[in-house]
């Protein structure tokens, strides 16, 4: 009796394991794929553009159907940019990736899955932009106007953890960059030591470091902290949803650039290259750009940008990741094990 039970259990176990092992190839068969009148695209994106994509995708489906007679279906996945990028590298067969920072696309390139020059598509492969800004409480009771106000004694600041959040990296780069460029009171231009001290002063005011930019803004909405360093689009979307916090744009800040690219290895495997490339190109059309601009993102299309200029005031000193020598260098120098950020947080908290 027991022997039989044991044998059955063993069989059940091995079947279960075999099923686990097989499930992945099965999935890939059912996901990507194409036929004469239907094509399925897998989109792996970070969370911010979810609502915008919900409007853009139907537009693209209609235009592609009219143009080719082919119906496009989408499978969409949204999670943090870094997690999404790693999932693609580890075998999540996305035809298209839309991520929050270039470093996450570079990871897919380095894995050999993305081989074309993605920066040659559209506006340098950047589908949308935003800037690092502040959310402050209704009426701005602390009178926060610029970076130096975040270092004042007792100001509770929220910003996510750069180890887990791409958004947090943009925040730290904006803060440190503004200081290096001489746009923070009391920090001379081009003085890394003074900029480092300023970074420490702000980090000393940080109350919570959440996992992701979204968690951070959620905490802020619950009434935690006086200022949240965040993206302009997060604040604009929050205001659209009826929250009462206000947007403050500092004198100097970084331009957040969100890349999009076709993943060569997977579109070729699925035979979906044509539709995938058409979708990426569609994202750069005024029709799609207009949708992004309605969801708080600064358009890369000059005409759409001009039409929405009153909504998106210019920044006195706007710089890009190139100021730090590009993402690979920024990752190493600012966020590496002995990078600026880790040294600063250690000196602030380790005393």
């Amino acid at each position: 009796m027991n022997k039989r039970f044991a044998a059955l259990a063993l069989i059940a176990l091995s079947l279960a394991l075999a099923a686990c092992g097989q499930s992945q190839p099965d999935d890939s068969d059912s996901t990507g794929g194409t036929s004469a009148d239907e094509v399925n695209l897998v989109l792996a994106a970070y969370t911010t553009p979810r609502e915008a994509f919900a409007e853009i995708i139907p537009l693209f489906q209609a235009s592609w159907l009219a143009e080719t007679g082919q119906t496009v279906t989408f499978e969409e996945s949204y999670q943090g940019s870094g997690a999404q990028s790693r999932a693609v590298v580890e075998g999540f067969e996305a035809d298209i990736v839309a991520l929050s920072l270039e470093a996450d696309v570079i990871r897919i390139q380095e894995a050999g899955l993305l081989t074309h020059d993605w920066k040659a598509v559209g506006a340098d492969g950047i589908m949308s932009t935003s800037i690092v800004a502040f959310a402050v409480r209704a009426g701005n009771p602390l009178g926060i106007a610029d970076w130096d106000d975040l270092a004042a004694e007792g100001v509770e600041v929220l910003t996510p953890n750069p180890a887990t959040s791409g958004g947090a990296m943009w925040n730290v780069l904006a803060l440190y960059g503004a200081a290096l460029r001489g746009h923070v009171d009391g920090v001379p231009e081009g003085d890394p030591q003074a900029a480092f001290e300023f970074l420490k002063a702000v980090l000393g005011n940080v109350l919570v470091m959440d996992d992701s930019a979204r968690d951070s803004i959620t905490n802020y909405e619950q009434g935690i902290g006086a200022v949240a360093i965040t993206y302009e689009n997060e604040v604009l979307v929050g205001q659209q949803a009826g929250t009462d916090y206000e947007l403050v744009i500092p004198t100097s800040t970084i331009l957040i650039q969100n890349p999009v690219a076709v993943v060569d290895a997977y579109v070729d495997e699925h035979g979906t290259r044509e539709a995938a490339e058409a979708f990426v190109e569609f994202l750069f059309t005024p029709a799609a750009q207009e949708v992004f601009s309605r969801f708080g993102l600064r358009s890369i299309d000059p005409q759409v940008a001009a039409a929405t200029a009153d909504q998106y005031p210019p920044v006195a000193d706007l710089f890009t990741i190139d100021f730090f020598g590009g993402w690979p260098q920024a990752r190493e120098n600012i966020f590496g094990e002995s990078g600026v950020f880790n040294r600063a947080i250690q000196e602030v908290q380790g005393q």
Binding site: L10, R86, Q222
Partner: protein, 278 residues
Amino acid sequence: MKAILPQARLKARSPELGLRATSFAFILVMVVIPMAVILQDGFKEGAAEFWRQVTLPVAAHAIILTLWTSALMTVINAVMGLLTAFVLVRYAFPGKAILNAIVDLPLAIPTLVTGVMLVILYGPQQALGLFLNQELGFQVIFAPPGIVLALLFITFPFVVRTIQPVLLDLDQQQEHAAATLGARRWTIFRRIIFPALALPTFSGSLLSFARAVGEFGAVVIVAGNIPFKSQTAAVYVLGAVESENRLAASAVSIVLIAISLVVILITNRLLSRRRGSQ
């Protein structure tokens, strides 16, 4: 002590071999192999690099914070768990069945929700949190007390549920005899009841400690997660994973596993020594 008897009887029989093989295979596949992968991962660049990873100030601080908050929680849990189990078993009162059921609920609640609940209750913007902070200067959320509270909530059933069955089985004749001889209630508890419950209390507490060391979901919400201040080992591991640092993630995980293993081995040793002495 009772538990080892059936085992001893089984030993001699061979038909159970298949059963044993199944359970060994199951443990091997489900527990041992995944752990071996972590071990291999953490040591893939040698013991020196492993050691460097776990003694990095930020990692070491996270591990120490995890250990002391878990240890503090374990002590509180041991005392309060013992008390709760005693009340639930020995006293009759209205609503006892409901209270008994509530004890298990923390196991069913996603720990993330536990964290959110604690922030709502003790957060700096809430009445209770504000009172504690302003009147008593005591910050709960985004500070170690929040971590201890979250761990307490999550592991509370472990101690209660290990003590309860032992207490139910406890022969009350000795207590009655002691009472007849004039012993006071505290003396009876100290000399008769507690000795019988010490082991389940201890092993339940260690179980809760081992569970707490790896807790992530609730802690990430309430701790504040600032490196060198309020970042626990599990949250540090997440950061390491997210920033491509698998080595650091595996190395710190190995430390947590090793600590749990040592704790469990010590318990087993104590248990077997007690068995020998009886």
